[in-house]
Symmetry: C2
Subunit: 247 residues, 2 copies
DNA sequence: GGCTGTGCTTGATCTGGGTCAAGGTCAAGC
DNA sequence: GCTTGACCTTGACCCAGATCAAGCACAGCC
């Protein structure tokens, strides 16, 4: 478990991903020193566990690059992913001493960490930070509710299509790689992790991926690289409203 | 749609349920006037729709009594409940103009409403309120993640048992009615609403309720009144860890 | 009293996705 | 070049829960 501490007080806020930079909104103010004093980086390898549910967790963090997953496991081993953290997402609860979920790196991962207690103390004095954190938490709640619809009511095929569209929309690489409406990206998850995300078995994930490929909705280059010839066709498979749902 | 406005500026903060009172933490300060100036009550009947997804929503609210549900509906009518609001729960997003979900009253309901824009403005000046709101939102996110495990991985019987234990634990009436470890309460939802909560059909809900009754895990007095002779026996049916999961 | 509508239960049958099992692909290490 | 192990695919079969259908319980109303 190599937990190298990189830069410490000399970290420049410009390093931070967008949302994290929003947390540091008062970069010009004297609060910056305070923020930086409790900030450090950690790196993890794909597959590593960052914390187990119930472990002490003495930091909160922002994802710099890579992907992390929050999951819950039942006594008999059934497993459900309940959070997927991409760059700029926030990890941890400032006022909670122990982790509620297993946290794992599904790709190589870099976190920008803040010591938990000083960070929590800062919330009461810094309205901008706690407001921004509220915004982010509300967004995550919306994402969780979208996810609940997927888990409770969608078919296996709709689940896969929805998952692919979620990753495609959030993956920063897609826009540059796009040629003539085509969208391409690498899956940051194994088939098993996808199954845990979607409430399926890995066999069903595999079969449905093959089905979408057979029907020309996606192309597979290797196991992990996805090409979507026509994003609208994929969206038709998700079961979601064509529009963003806004009337 | 009778939306009677009850008390207005003369409302006493003592009326407010616990969490809402926390929002008014500065009752003694001069901010009270500000809070009350934007506060009013609304009543709804069981079954009424409060707002539809996509509608303008010019208030946020705290549930005073009764139960409200947030749900999402797919084009073909498949429906998933994504939030169940009991007394003291918070409804709405201060900075969002339109509702994201259908909101319905599943029982007779009273809301304590705040005009959205003034409430949102208040957040930036009142650290206590926004911090408290952050706490509540994080709790809701945890509840949503528990719910995701239920939707993705639990069997129909485990879903029903989990649902009953959730309601039993949150229903304020249960503690007084308890005699010798027995727990009793009224279901605030129809079988159909339970099905929407659990990602099942109403027939499966009915069958599993009958199953739990046949096996002596619960007693049914009428359609809606539940008696749980031994709460531990019910918990064994949920699939959850015996303990709260805290190591 | 009977009628109507809403909510609930139960039975018969069907099917999507789980389970079990075999084998394929590919990269790393000897 | 062979072995090993991680990851993925595919096939055969099965079952939990969906679907379709009938009927019950009970409150409100004429």
């Amino acid at each position: 478990m190599p937990q190298r501490q990189l830069a410490f007080p000399q970290v420049d806020c410009a390093d931070c991903p967008i949302r994290h930079r929003a947390v540091c909104a008062r970069c010009e103010s004297d609060e910056l020193e305070h923020l930086e004093a409790i900030k450090y980086y950690r790196n993890y390898e794909a597959g590593q566990t960052i914390v187990w549910a119930g472990d002490k967790m003495d930091f909160v963090a922002s994802v710099v690059h890579g992907v992390a997953a929050l999951s819950q496991t039942m006594e008999d081993g059934r497993r459900q992913m309940v959070g997927l953290l991409l760059p700029s997402d926030f990890l941890g609860r400032p006022n909670r001493e122990r982790a509620t979920y297993d946290v794992t790196a599904t790709t190589d991962l870099q976190l920008c960490c803040f010591r938990r207690v000083p960070f929590h103390d800062m919330l009461s004095t810094n309205a901008h930070v706690s407001q921004r954190l509220l915004e982010m938490t509300l967004d995550e709640l919306d994402a969780a509710r979208e996810w609940m619809l997927l888990l409770g009511r969608k078919t296996a095929r709709e689940k896969i299509a929805s998952f692919l569209s979620i990753i495609a929309r959030r993956d920063a690489t897609i826009n540059q790689n796009a040629k003539s409406g085509e969208v391409a990206f690498d899956l940051p998850l194994t088939r098993e992790a996808m199954a845990d995300y979607l409430g399926l078995t890995l066999e069903t994930v595999s079969r449905q991926m093959s089905g979408l490929k057979r029907d020309g909705v996606i192309r597979l280059e290797g196991k992990r690289h996805i090409v979507i010839p026509d994003f609208d066709v994929l969206m038709d498979e998700t079961g979601d409203d064509a529009d963003g749902g806004v009337f």
